[in-house]
């Protein structure tokens, strides 16, 4: 993996963590507390289906992602890592 790609992925992961903590009001968690490979839903970070809907909106707003008709949704929403990779490969510029 090229250095610039890794740097971009790191930046997306950082943005995602900050976004989740702020916009999902995870008041007792800091962005740096979330591990890159931590499971987001259920037993991991403890997010639920309402958070999933909120994340869909946040991806559209912040990364220009169209999430409808997405294949492998469960895998993509699994962790910060998987979300970051999907965003890196599919994002559009947000004006």
């Amino acid at each position: 993996m090229s250095e610039s790609k890794e740097e971009e992925l790191a930046q997306i992961r950082k943005t995602l963590k900050e976004m989740l903590v702020k916009d999902l009001s995870l008041e007792d968690i800091r962005p740096e507390d979330i591990k890159d490979d931590e499971i987001l839903f259920g037993e991991g970070l403890g997010l639920d289906s309402l958070d999933a809907v909120e994340i869909v909106v946040l991806l559209q707003r912040n990364f220009g992602m169209e999430v409808k008709d997405m294949e492998n949704r469960k895998d993509i929403f699994s962790s910060i890592d998987t979300l970051a990779k999907y965003i890196y490969e599919n994002r559009k510029e947000v004006s």
Partner: protein, 367 residues
């Protein structure tokens, strides 16, 4: 009906003890806010005050309005000292004039900023009419009837009248009745545009004309029932809106809801008697359409503690018989009065809790 518990969240703290402390300590300068580039004042509730580890996880999606309501309702229930509730027999009535207007404007801003398809579903759900009452029901696991009374004038009085009806028809054993309002930029702008802001941050309740307002926010909830427990504050003897003058009772003390939300409050003078001391506590919590609920809490404390609290702002240009000093007193009946801008009057009469007889009966029932 009786007030068995009171929970409160306001600018100076949370819990009835913090309210009593504010009544004893008197006025403090409210926080500064900026409205369209102009400095003004507001009695705001610090977000830190709403961080509650016991409720936090389930409340994280709630907006400030709902958080204030949940915490006040929780405190009212917990502070009542009544441990054994049938959750299906407790009702909830949330009274508000403006409701979740801050969240509603956030939602509208989201539509403008991101388009209809990309508005936050959480923001939308928090903006709906009954959100705060629903959070209370869900978080405190209360399964009785749950309503929100949204009314510009006298919402708290209407909520009390409804609670009385529920208790009398035995639909509920207890009713959590409360008021909640939130400060926001839009409200601050409207207040400052339409009414006179207090340039020094001080509401002067006995000025009457001109009046000065300082917007407030917070929530106060009362646990009401027809039961008389050890920790009962007092009885709500009567609640009326536009009652006939002949039904007016002579109280030992009048609390008036003057807070600058009516441009001319001179009408209050007509209902006061020189022989009866008068108090007004809006300078402690701010100008709110549901300020009656906070004054009602002050009255309930007075009756329970048999203490009168000095007016936090004692400017008295009309030479009224105002309460000047905090001290022990012998009050049996207290009247809270609010007028609206149309000259309509709402009154709440509070009576000291019944003597030991009721408590004995209650103890016997428990035994």
């Amino acid at each position: 009906m009786n007030i068995n518990g009171i929970g409160i969240v306001f600018t100076r703290g949370r819990g009835i003890d913090s309210f009593e402390k504010a009544l004893q300590e008197g006025w403090r300068t409210p926080s500064q806010v900026e409205i369209k580039g102009r400095k003004s004042f507001a009695y705001q509730v610090d977000a830190q005050m709403l961080s509650d580890k016991r409720l936090l996880k389930k409340m994280r999606r709630a907006d400030k309005l709902s958080k204030m309501a949940v915490i006040a309702a929780y405190e009212a229930l917990a502070g009542s000292g009544i441990g054994d509730f049938n959750k299906k027999s407790i009702g909830i009535i949330t009274a508000t004039a403006f409701g979740a207007h801050v969240t509603t404007f956030d939602f509208l801003n989201d539509i403008l900023d991101y388009g209809e398809a990309n508005v936050s579903p959480t923001t939308f759900s928090n903006s709906v009419h009954n959100a705060a009452a629903s959070y209370i029901s869900s978080l405190l696991n209360i399964q009785g009837p749950t309503l929100t009374v949204t009314q510009f004038f006298f919402p708290f009085h209407s909520a009390l009248q409804l609670a009385q009806a529920w208790l009398n028809e035995k639909r509920c054993d207890y009713v959590l009745v409360g008021a909640v309002e939130q400060y926001g930029d839009v409200l601050g702008y409207i207040y400052d545009s339409e009414l006179t802001p207090a340039s020094d941050g001080m509401i002067k309740p006995f000025n009457f004309n001109p009046t000065y307002q300082v917007p407030g926010e917070g929530s106060v909830f009362f646990l009401l029932s027809n039961k008389n427990h050890d920790d009962t504050f007092c009885e709500i003897h009567n609640v009326s809106i536009n009652a006939d003058e002949k039904d007016t009772l002579q109280a030992d003390l009048d609390i008036i809801d003057t807070d600058g939300l009516v441009a001319d409050e001179s009408i209050y003078k007509n209902c006061l008697s020189p022989a009866i001391p008068v108090a007004a506590y809006s300078p402690l919590f701010g100008s709110m359409m549901t300020g009656s609920a906070f004054n009602c809490a002050a009255g309930a404390l007075m009756l329970k503690k048999q203490t009168v609290y000095a007016n936090p702002v004692a400017d008295n240009p009309k030479g009224l018989n105002i309460v000047g000093e905090t001290g022990r007193s012998n009050i049996e009946l207290l009247r809270c009065i609010r007028y609206n801008c149309h000259g309509e009057k709402a009154e709440i009469y509070l009576r000291g809790k019944p003597n030991g007889e009721g408590r004995e009966v209650n103890r016997q029932n428990q035994g």
